[in-house]
């Protein structure tokens, strides 16, 4: 310690030099005003305003979406003398001849989304339970990146997969003569809602797995232990204790998945068909809302035309549908949090 004190004494002299430097800085800043007085920092204020604007841009985006979709839809409704009832219940979508019933497009969206959820929910939940409760640590570590990879594949690639693999496979199975189809009639058309639905299910699968797994792992240990302590088997504990406790988290996962299915474009644009078709049979072609927007806008679309405006009315429907689902899912998640915190 003695040597350190010596070092301190040596420092005394040289600190004097540094003090001189600071005296200049201080004299400059204290020039003509009492100490500590607030000083203008224009750069600081400018930075703050810039940052606020950045944050506000997200609000402008929402307003922009609502304005753009709302404005063009309103024009369509006014110019075409369309009523909301007609729009929501009409069974024909032919803008050129003045028919604006969203049902053909909506029904196709519902068909593909329901098929996707029928695939993604049991598989996703099963995989989440396996990964969270059964899989050994190392297998888990190996499987997680595979799920991330599946989640990262662009949807246009899934669309390619649907049309070049799943559709021919299903057509081969269903259309060739068999016990169920002795004459080999064409049950499944080339464009249909089943194949894109299944592929969409695979696309959504990773979302459901990761969100459900989070929900499962949030179930307090004490609950599991209570169940095991009463002599329940592992499976009984999962089904009767863990799943019910995680139900709202799982519901939120399913709703987020559904919202993604409703908004998904590329898979259906490639594999569901090139025209609206009001038919609840999933084996025939029928264009979804998103696929219709993609097809019509990829042609030469003139601004202000009926086609142009009608796209925005579909977009508005889609926006409210997905927004509603997302809000519902967050509401459920928040409720869930309240229970365990």
């Amino acid at each position: 310690m003695e040597s350190q004190i010596k070092a301190g004494q040596q420092a005394d002299i040289s600190v004097g030099i540094a003090r001189d430097v600071f005296r200049n800085v201080r004299r400059a800043e204290a020039d003509g005003r009492p100490i500590l007085t607030q000083r203008a920092r224009p750069f600081e204020d400018a930075a703050r305003i810039f940052l606020i604007l950045c944050a506000m841009l997200s609000i402008f985006t929402t307003i922009g979406i609502l304005l753009v979709l709302g404005n063009e839809s309103l024009l369509l409704f006014i110019n075409e003398g369309l009523s909301l009832i007609e729009f929501l219940t009409g069974t024909e979508w032919r803008p050129q001849s003045g028919s604006f019933g969203i049902l053909p497009l909506l029904s196709a969206t519902i068909k593909t989304s329901v098929i996707a959820m029928l695939v993604a929910t049991p598989l996703g939940l099963g995989a989440a339970i396996y990964l969270g409760e059964y899989a050994p640590q190392r297998l888990r570590a190996a499987l997680k990146p595979i799920l991330e990879l599946l989640a990262g594949i662009p949807t246009v690639v899934y669309g390619y997969f649907a049309i070049s693999f799943m559709t021919p496979l299903l057509r081969g199975l269903l259309n060739s003569p068999s016990f169920f189809n002795p004459n080999g009639t064409e049950i499944l058309q080339f464009y249909n809602n089943v194949s894109p639905g299944i592929i969409m299910g695979i696309m959504i699968f990773p979302t459901i797995v990761s969100m459900s797994e989070d929900a499962l792992s949030a179930v307090p240990r004490a609950l599991r232990e209570a169940s095991y302590g009463l002599g329940a088997t592992k499976f009984e504990t999962i089904i009767r204790v863990i799943l019910p406790a995680a139900l709202s988290g799982i519901a939120a996962a399913i709703i987020v998945g559904l919202s993604r299915a409703v908004g998904e474009t590329m898979i259906v644009a490639l594999a569901s068909g090139a025209g609206p078709n009001y038919d609840w049979n999933p084996f025939v072609f029928a264009e979804t809302m998103t696929a219709h927007i993609a097809r019509i806008s990829s042609g030469d679309l003139s601004y202000g035309s009926v086609d142009y405006e009608s796209l925005f009315s579909i977009g508005l429907t889609l926006f409210f549908l997905t927004l509603g689902l997302n809000i519902l899912s967050r509401w459920i998640t928040n409720k869930f949090r309240e229970v365990y915190q």
Binding site: S3, I5, G8, A11, A18, R19, L36, Q38, R39
Partner: protein, 271 residues
């Protein structure tokens, strides 16, 4: 800067200072004056508000959303909470060393040069000078002079804390506030910091919050003892706040406390 040298003998004068967090009273009506170029220790049980008072002295509480300070807090005669006062300059003049050593994830040199650079000092030779002197003043120079490019995080806990002190000295403050600076350190490192404080007090006013009554007795000239008051509210929730119980020269406070509560605390029957 001459105020400390020639003006009032007090660095801080607090009168009826209250601190609130989100409208809840945290510290009730503190009145005390802190002498310049002396070491003043704040002691008391956990939650008594001693750190809160310390952080009020350089407006560090401003950074906590919902924190509010009322009453009169004067630094060198000027009200710190006057709307015209610049909190940035306040913190430059009133440095702070924290409970857990918090060097930046930068080199030792850049840690010490951080403050001077904020002030616009760019010249390499001047910065070198300041870094060397500050490290010497913090008794750290001999240990690190060969390797100033090393990360500050690679030092031992005690060295990190001395680096933080060097960093504080580098902006030439008038006061150094220390919030339990030794609580994360071993006895040998603690000893080094205590020796350093006794050296630094020749040039700076030091206010230290400590849990360790031995430390307060060893280093401080004055000691303020804070305690907790509790009250049950109508809604059944218990409210707690801190207040200043006794403030006296250290020797007097530990040998002849006027308050029974102080006496019990220093005998170890409390908290």
């Amino acid at each position: 800067m001459s105020a400390t040298n020639s003006g009032s003998a007090y660095s801080f004068e607090l009168k009826d200072m209250n601190v609130y967090y989100s409208d809840k009273l945290a510290v009730d009506s503190v009145t005390l004056s802190i002498q310049a170029r002396k070491i003043t220790a704040f002691i008391g049980p956990s939650g008594c508000g001693k750190s809160t008072v310390l952080r009020a002295l350089n407006r560090m509480n401003d950074l906590i959303p919902g924190a509010k300070v009322t009453g009169d807090v004067r630094f060198m005669g000027r009200n710190l909470y006057d709307p015209n006062v610049d909190p940035v300059e306040v913190r430059r003049r009133i440095g702070m060393v924290f409970q857990k050593p918090n060097p930046f994830p930068k080199s030792i040199y850049d840690n010490v040069a951080y403050g001077p650079r904020l002030l616009g000092i760019r010249q390499k030779s001047t910065l070198d000078d300041i870094v060397e002197n500050s490290l010497k003043s913090a008794f750290l120079w001999d240990e690190v002079k060969g390797d100033l490019k090393k990360s500050g995080l690679a030092l031992s806990g005690g060295q990190q804390q001395r680096l933080c002190i060097a960093r504080t000295i580098a902006v030439e403050p008038e006061v150094i506030l220390m919030d339990e600076p030794c609580s994360a350190l071993d006895p040998i490192a603690t000893q080094a910091i205590e020796d350093l404080m006794l050296e630094l007090v020749k040039k700076y006013t030091i206010v230290i919050v400590t849990h360790n009554m031995g430390q307060a007795q060893r280093v401080s000239d004055f000691t303020a003892f804070y305690s907790i008051r509790k009250a049950a509210e109508a809604d059944g929730i218990e409210r707690r706040w801190g207040l200043l119980v006794e403030y006296a020269p250290t020797e007097q406070l530990f040998s002849r406390p006027t308050s029974e509560e102080t006496e019990r605390y220093i005998r170890g029957e409390f908290g």
